[in-house]
Amino acid sequence: MQDKKTIVLGVIGSDCHAVGNKILDHALTESGFNVVNIGVMSPQEDFINAAIETDADVIMVSSLYGHGEIDCRGMKDKCLEAGLEDVLLYVGGNIVVGKQEWKDVKYRFNAMGFDRIYPPGTSLERAVEDLRADLYKDHRAAV
């Protein structure tokens, strides 16, 4: 058995959308990850502190309400400053205002230092697969 990987999970900024967060928590836990859920309305700092405290492998940022682009700015730098260069940065939800060309959105978030960027309607299976691919070199199941 491989060791359990730790994911810090939360919804960034002033965003109160809680449903996806609760389901992600449940599903990732069920899939064998160690989930540290800092919940909704979390500033960048809370993600970073939680990652440091728990020696996390991944930070999964949710943003639903449209201010994601503003809220995520500078997060990668803060991670680097905090010595979290190896921690993967995922982001998903409805991360920009409105229905935009996905290519452009992805490009902008890539440039901001995010490793994986998910469009609206992403299935949990997809996220879990990616996590496994990124975290376990042999791509085997997490547990």
């Binding site: 109160c16 809680a18 309305m41 449209g66 409105g98 609206p120």
Partner: protein
Amino acid sequence: MKLKNRKLSEDEFFDLRKEVLSQWPTGKEVNLKEAVDYLKKVPDEMNFAKKLKKAKEEGITLAQPRAGVGLIDKHIELMNFLSKEGGADLLPCTIDSYTRQNRYKECEVGIEDSIKEGRSLLNGFPAVNHGVKGCREVFEGVDKPLQARHGTPDSRLLSEIIHASGWTSNEGGGISYNIPYAKNVSVEKTLYDWQYCDRLAGFYEEQGIEINREPFGPLTGTLVPPSISNAVAIIEGLLAAEQGVKSITLGYGQGGNLNQDIAAVKALEEQAESYLKRFGYKDCYVTTVFHQWMGGFPEDEAKAFGVISMGSMAAALAGATKVIVKTPHEAHGIPTKEANAAGIRNTKMTLSIYEGQKMFMSRELEEEIEIIKAETDCIINKIIEVGKGDIALGTVKGIEMGIIDIPFGPSKFNLGQMMPARDNQGAIRYLLTGNLPFTNEIIDYNRSKLEERGRYEDRKVDFKMTIDDIYAVSRGKLIGRK
């Protein structure tokens, strides 16, 4: 702050008011005397409360979109587009998320950036920053009554500014704009702050100006059993009435089972009237608002239109006074004005087909109304009991105890032990009742309804059901079948 469910005296109100108006420079722009004069000149057809009353008397259902952008001229343009190209009957100003958190400085940045980039970086209209001057500009630039729609725990300054600007309706309430929208704000605090907003509306009423107040019915929009949202709506209605509010619009978010949806609206209206009477609020005028599906939407626009129409139809057949309109972009993000107008046109088409048509009474409808009423009574009576007769205090305590428990509510003050799921016909039932003060009969009824589904699908009745149900509509089904 000593919360109590009694009308704030003028002294208390004006005392608080000083502090409220100083929260941001635009507070200075509000002059109540001048505002009263301004509002007295607002013609009837631009008054939200009057338009709702007229619609209810005529038995029609009005359509109202949600919409808001950062800049005044763009917002006026948007409003007029929705009125003219969409045919909206009532207009909203959806307020941005920073304003909702009283973070007006960030709004200032958002406004500047929006000007620079030529597109709205704010997800709504920052009414406080634009002040009475800006908000009146909006009001004078549109042709339908205006309402602020937000999700603000403390919206006292916002309320002052919008009403003084001719916006004759305000959405929200001490429970409904807290538990679904906040994480750390105490219920006591929001109830207190919303007493202020209600008192302000009540003050205008005393001056002969009708101001409409609308508790936010759908709460988290996610599998909320009707008796939960009805109980919250009625409680917020009672709290508003105590502060002198006369025009009260109570809301309900579509569940998807037509019989239950119609029963919910009927139960809500009837119970609200009877509780208001019971507590001695005699001249309130109650209208209802039906929210088209508030949970996760399908991404496909053709399907989204199906969900939208389905909501319009239920609203019309339920005889709701207005319906809040979703758009074909719902699953993706804030809609373009074209998508928003398309949602309204779709809604209006469906509403006008069903104009004058109501759902007729059947045994099943009667039964559903009875069960919703029974559940709601359990909740409200217990709230009154634990508050020792004070419904405000009872609410604070009741939420703490889980007498009111809102599914997926992000607030840390929400107990979160109740869990809903759909029964075999898609009606929303209680899977776990947590600390809800239900009789055994009610608990058994809910359980048996879910067991029926469990047998049909040959599955356990558990949280997996809830999760499947949450995703179902966005995947093109009502019930998340195994």
